[in-house]
């Protein structure tokens, strides 16, 4: 208690110096928290965008379909999987899909297209497809009065083939059994814009797609949403045990290039932050050392009346850490509103950058314990370390020499 009081008074003895030191620590902390928050927030925003746009948090495939898609690598027992998924409380949504490539005809024009067979009622439980309908209406599994199944096409394809809602589109592809598949579909909606990943896509009701591709009831993929998106890797591992014949992959594996890019970017930022903290603490070391040297005489007196070296080390340690804590608290109070603003609102960049196949165009903050306390812990630890050399110096002061100086 006495040491605490002494330390507190010592900080206040040189207010200007303490204040300036506090400024630099608070500034360093604020910068650290701010950049962590932006980094985590922006990345998790991007992750949300593509997981909710298409990928989902977890995907289930047969074998290596995710890497080498082939029409006959199918999940043959969808019913069993669906009943497994229904019993999983941690899975909030799931949707079956089939894929294929096709040539699309509209009037006299042709273009390559990607077929996405989706379940009209289950797909919206995983992705934001309902919000991506930019024209027309979301489809159902039912054929129209003329007997044509509905299709929703990407904006890019619509532009190339000069097709609109209500028009007919002809698809040619090859079926799972090697037969030639061709059929007419009626366009009920245009999806997304010219930069969406599905700009060249044709969405079909899954039953129509299965029939078109002669796949029976098989599906290529299940996309899942997890209740807690941060637990998706654990959940994927759990599901893998329940579904031994299939491959369960978290999005980190599906979008491996993007994930690596994200990890590298975070690493780079940690490095920059470590540099900044280093520079801040050279300044702090300077201050603490000076304050010890100033008090050489004082420490000499303390020692001569019986103060132990360890007490002095403790005193300097507490002084430094106390100053650091005060600065960090003040820094936190100042930066908190900024972070909350960035978390709630964020900045939309007027440029968009493609990062490993995913578009990055919004700066968002993240407000979480990690973002606040990781920098705090790191800075307190550094403060504690930095107090040691001056503390040792104080502890080694010889009363005789100290009292003789000045």
């Amino acid at each position: 208690m006495l040491t605490l009081k002494l330390a507190y008074r010592n900080i206040l003895r040189q207010r200007r110096r303490s204040l300036l030191t506090a400024f630099s620590m608070a500034g360093g902390y604020m910068l650290f928290v701010f950049s962590m928050s932006l980094l985590e927030g922006s990345w998790s925003n991007v992750v949300d965008i593509f997981t909710l746009d298409h990928t989902g948090h977890i995907q289930i495939h047969k074998d290596d379909y995710a890497k080498r898609a082939k029409i006959h690598k199918t999940i043959e027992d969808p019913k069993a999987i669906e009943s497994t998924l229904k019993n999983q409380a941690a899975v909030t949504g799931w949707a079956p899909r089939v894929y294929s490539a096709a040539l699309a005809y509209g009037g006299s024009k042709t273009a390559p297209a990607k077929i996405f067979g989706i379940d009209p009622t289950l797909e919206p439980t995983v992705t934001r497809i309902l919000k991506k309908v930019s024209e027309g209406e979301y489809f159902s599994s039912q054929p129209n009065p003329d007997g044509y199944f509905p299709a929703m096409i990407g904006r890019g394809l619509a532009n190339t083939l000069k097709l609109g809602v209500g028009d007919e589109i002809v698809l040619i592809s090859s079926g799972a059994d090697g037969s030639i598949a061709n059929d007419i579909f009626s366009i009920t909606a245009i999806i997304g814009n010219t930069t969406s990943f599905d700009r060249l896509g044709v969405f079909l009701p899954i039953s129509a797609a299965q029939e078109f591709l002669a796949m029976g009831g098989d599906v290529h993929e299940y996309a899942l949403l997890a209740r807690n998106k941060h637990d998706n890797e654990q959940l994927a591992a759990d599901l893998q045990k329940l579904l031994p014949g299939l491959t369960v992959s978290p999005w980190q594996q599906i979008e491996a290039t993007f994930y690596r890019t994200m990890q590298s970017d975070k690493q780079g930022n940690y490095f920059t932050m470590a540099l900044i903290v280093f520079i801040v603490f050279i300044g702090v070391l300077n201050t603490v050392l000076m304050s010890v040297l100033e008090r050489t005489r004082e420490f000499g007196v303390l020692k001569s009346i019986g103060c132990r070296p360890s007490e002095l080390i403790k005193l300097i340690f507490i002084e430094t850490v106390m100053l650091a804590s005060i600065s960090i608290t003040a820094g936190l109070a100042l930066i908190l509103p900024v972070i909350i603003w960035f978390t709630e609102v964020g900045i939309k960049l007027d440029i968009s950058v493609d990062m490993g196949g995913v578009v990055f165009d919004t700066m968002k903050g993240e407000f979480s314990a990690y973002v606040i306390f990781m920098p705090m812990g790191f800075m307190l630890l550094t403060a504690a370390l930095i107090s040691l050399p001056p503390g040792l110096r104080a502890a080694r002061i010889l009363p005789r020499v100290a009292l003789g100086s000045h």
């Binding site: 500034g27 490539a101 532009n159 060249l200 890019t261 590298s264 690493q267 520079i279 440029i351 490993g356």
Partner: protein
Amino acid sequence: MLSLKLAWRNLFRNTRRTLLTCMLVTSSLVVIILVDGIMLGMIDVMVGGITKTLEGEAQVNRKGFRENFEPELFLSDPDTISLALATDARVAGHAPRVIIGSMIASPYNTTGGLVYGVDANSELGVSRLKEATYEGSYLSGVKREILLGKLMAELLEVSLGDRIIITAAQVDTSEITQALFRVTGLFEFGPEEMDQSLAFINLSAAQPLMGMDGHVHQIAIRFVDPEDAKNKSLPTLINLNKGDVEALGWLDLQPSIGGMIEMSSYASAIVGAVLFVLTSLGVINSMFMSIYERIYEFGVAKAIGTTPRQIITLVLLEAFLLALMACAFGILIGYLASSYFESNGIPMGRMEMSGVLLDGNMYTQVRPYQFVTFPIYVTLLTVAAAIYPAIFASRIVPSRALQRAL
């Protein structure tokens, strides 16, 4: 002269403090030099990745062609353009291309992609295609040759010599046309998107396939001086911009790279500004400490008639000398570190940004201005930071200062 001598001596009265402050300023300078070098290196890689891989430094296209690669939007008079480019001394190379969105099928699998019909010799002067061909041989002009990307070959499960069938729709008639090729080589550009969805055949084979004899979709250009591509008033490009033909440099073709570069330079400016603030807090603090120690001295100096102006000069000179020392170290260390990383690289991890692969090491770039401009900034800043302590020192009242010291 006297002030200079005094200032120099004052600095070394407390060598430890001066060195620590020096270290603070030095490390900021080193960090700024390194960050700038890394940014330059990164920009170089990104720009090189775009312009040297495939896209070229500039391109001639029909307006709107790049949006969806619609086959009808070809250049109707490529010979005139080629002639103009061939006789232009600024142009190092140009390559005509036919670009076909098509279905690419092997005996085992089918995928969609872009097939480039290229002239094997012209391509040498513009793209990296030949160097990227890691297995088999480069195109030689023989009709059935095709080069596949590494990932596409894996997906199609083919190797050298295997059959590939390209299906596309002919220009104008939109009739489906198919042609047989044999895999002559495999290439790897790096970015997954490219290695997964591109294939190259001979221009002479592509034109009849598409029914567009003598026409091409795109002419990619490389300049003798890469800076020319950024020059908006370059006659080479302006003269080609006629009617619906558009000739653009890479900055206009790839706005996201321009955005990326802009974002990077913002980021390094912010890091620089923060470093400046933190460093100046440290400098202010250190100057104050040294003034506090000498309050008695300043009191005496003023009592015997030193003007406030002289005291300000003295303190500022101290800061200036300190900055000079720090810059000398900074330039030395910065140069050593930056040139080390220039030849050895900084390990960065693997990133893919805007279709450019940043893999492995990032090489910094050493430029003379980094060792002139940045030290000048740092010196100015250090002197500026000393203004407040200097004014404080000049206002010391002799009577009080002398009393306090007793």
